[in-house]
């Protein structure tokens, strides 16, 4: 301990004094976190890669040996594979578009002052704190149930036929639920970012005769660009693994209508015990996520340098 106390005055980030004094204590402070995350990152991923190239089924231990790209072949030839890829992309794309477009408009709306705005803000962000299994069941039962749901009730009052949401529009139903969960996230980030917009810039634009649309597209949207980028990337990572909502509502059905990549890997690996093929699916998800992560980390690196 005495080593550390005798050190000369050490400044915050960027102070040169500390740089040339590496010692054991310093290393020990950092090491646990780094080692834990290193193991977490390398061990399971290496196992997934390894499994994806061998024949491995928990139900049939006799099958073994190197499989080459067989697992990937089986996976792509599986009848649920392409639907799963398409569903993953549709779900991700639709939720991204909905949350960002509505989130931006909502952020602009909430950038103005109105009565009880702070309380209203709390209500808007509330869905983000509801656990996914609860969100899914609220929507499935209370709102979308074809007989007792509120939508059915309203349609009935209007004399319209009931809609079997999860039977007829399964993917759309999932998209609605997930959008409801993630809209608060997009809103909160964009709303926060909008607060840092220079008011004088807006005023200057209005004095120069800019109308509301010009103000929105030439001042507000460019200002939000960076925040929108962050929302897209973070949501993409999470939306790639949407699972609980599907698990509790449709279980991937009817047919493969709501099976996404995450649910496919679950059903191949945990339900059918086909480790090899499920791992191949996992690797595909990792590759997709890494493409996104590359851009996110690059952007954050720029941010750190700007500090």
């Amino acid at each position: 301990m005495s080593v550390a106390t005798q050190q000369p005055v050490v400044g915050p980030v960027g102070a040169p004094a500390s740089a040339e004094k590496p010692n054991l204590l310093m290393a020990l402070l950092e090491a646990p976190s780094i080692i834990a995350l290193l193991l977490w990152m390398i061990v399971p991923l290496a196992m997934t890669i390894y499994f994806s190239f061998i024949r491995y089924s928990l139900l049939n231990p006799d099958i073994s040996g190197f499989a080459g790209i067989e697992n990937y072949q089986f996976l792509t030839e599986d009848e649920s594979f392409w639907p799963a890829i398409i569903n993953t992309v549709l779900l991700m794309g639709a939720v991204l578009i909905i949350t960002i477009v509505v989130g931006t408009l909502l952020a602009v709306l909430y950038d103005r002052e109105f009565f009880g705005k702070n309380v209203a803000t709390l209500l808007v962000i509330a869905p983000f704190f509801v656990m996914p299994t609860v969100s899914a069941l609220i929507w499935k039962n209370f709102i979308m149930h074809p007989v007792y749901g509120l939508i059915a009730f309203v349609l009935h009052k209007l004399g319209l036929p009931a809609v079997d949401w999860f039977g007829d529009y399964p993917l759309i139903s999932i998209i609605i639920i997930v959008s409801w969960e993630w809209l608060p996230f997009a809103f909160l980030i964009l709303f926060t970012s909008l607060k840092s917009l220079d008011q004088e810039q807006k005023e200057a634009a209005s004095i120069d005769g800019a109308n509301a649309f010009q103000l929105f597209f030439f001042i507000i949207v460019p200002h939000l660009q960076r925040a929108i980028g962050v929302v897209v990337m973070i949501e993409t990572i999470f939306l790639l693994s949407i699972f609980a909502e599907i698990y509790t509502t449709t279980s991937g059905g009817p047919g493969h209508a709501t099976t996404n990549l995450a649910f496919l890997v679950y059903s191949l690996g945990i339900q059918q015990f086909n480790v090899g093929i499920a791992s191949a699916g996992g690797i595909l998800a990792v590759i997709l996520a890494n493409i996104v992560a590359y851009f996110l980390v690059k952007m954050l690196a720029q941010n750190l340098k700007g500090r």
Binding site: V9, V10, P12, V13, S18, M26, L29, E30, P32, S33, L37, M47, F51, L106, L109, E113, F114, G116, K117, L122, V124, A126, P127, F128, F129, M131, P132, V134, L137, I138, N141, Y148, L150, F153, W180, F185, L188, I189, T192, S193, R226, I234, I237, L240, F243, A244, Y247, T249, A262, Y266, I270, V275, A278, G282, A289, V297, L300, A301, N303, K305
Partner: protein, 269 residues
């Protein structure tokens, strides 16, 4: 003209807020209905606590609540145990490698859970960690560790080094410096970090559904069991959900401001 504008925007803003909150409101209302009453969309009814009693009587509800508490608080404490020393080192004694390490830590968060589901499941199976609280705490700790380090680092960086300096000049030992100077200054930041970590762990559903069943299931996994057609008791589902959601929503509201920093790793302030 401007007055009307404010009024119209206020009304639109409130209508949207109420629509967003409506499903939660409806769940809260249904929790106080009887099981028969739960199927009718009446707003006027005699509130009853019957469903809450049933939830506690018919299921091991308290066990799942305790599991959620153990797992979220346990993982948060372990996270801090790992993250605070690392963040302290990184912010007060940075080396040229520090930035790279921070970004690398963050990049571990980018791995989709589904990519490692199969090996984690198999590892847990062979180590007897399936349906085990300790196993779940390990996963949640690793899941939240990058956020914990990143947020603590951000808060440490905001502390003026001159104060620590002054303490050292006055002859404070390292421990006095940490306890009397650093601790009070970083406590607000670290407590909001803690709240965010608790929220994330509390609401996590992918791992809890896949890795636990009867004994170690937290609330997310327990509520999922209501999805089976036999488990369709709406009033009880609402009561169980309300109790599971309400405390964490209050925490979420309290941390609203720090939440953005935590969620975007400081990219948006």
């Amino acid at each position: 003209m401007k007055k009307y504008g404010t009024l119209i925007f206020g009304i639109v803003g409130w209508v949207i807020a109420l629509i967003m909150f409506f499903p939660i409101f409806w769940m809260a209302i249904t929790a106080f209905k009887t099981e028969q009453g739960a199927y009718s969309p009446d707003l006027i009814f005699v509130p009853t606590l019957e469903s809450f009693k049933d939830v506690f009587a018919r299921s091991n509800y308290l066990l799942f609540v305790m599991n959620s508490i153990y797992v979220s608080i346990g993982s948060t404490l372990v996270c801090f145990l790992f993250a605070i020393p690392a963040a302290y080192k990184m912010s007060f004694f940075p080396t040229p490698k520090t930035q790279g390490r921070l970004l690398w830590m963050l990049s571990t968060k980018m791995m989709p859970a589904v990519g490692v589901l199969v090996p984690i499941y198999l590892l847990f199976r062979s180590f007897g960690l399936l349906d085990n609280l300790f196993g779940l705490i390990v996963i949640y700790t690793l899941m939240n560790l990058p956020i914990a380090v990143w947020m603590s680092y951000t808060y440490f960086c905001e502390i003026p080094a001159a104060i620590l300096e002054a303490g050292r000049i006055d002859g404070a030992t390292l421990w006095e410096e940490l306890w009397y100077l650093l601790r009070p200054m970083c406590l607000p930041g670290l407590s909001s970090t803690g709240l965010i970590l608790i929220i994330f762990a509390w609401n996590e559903a992918f791992w809890s559904i896949n890795l636990t069943s009867a004994n170690a299931a937290p609330l997310t996994a327990f509520i999922a069991s209501y999805s089976s057609p036999e488990g369709l008791f709406w009033a009880k589902l609402s009561a169980a959900s309300l109790l599971a959601v309400a405390p964490i929503m209050v925490l979420g509201w309290l941390t609203q401001k720090q939440l953005v920093q935590g969620l975007t790793f400081g990219a948006v302030k």
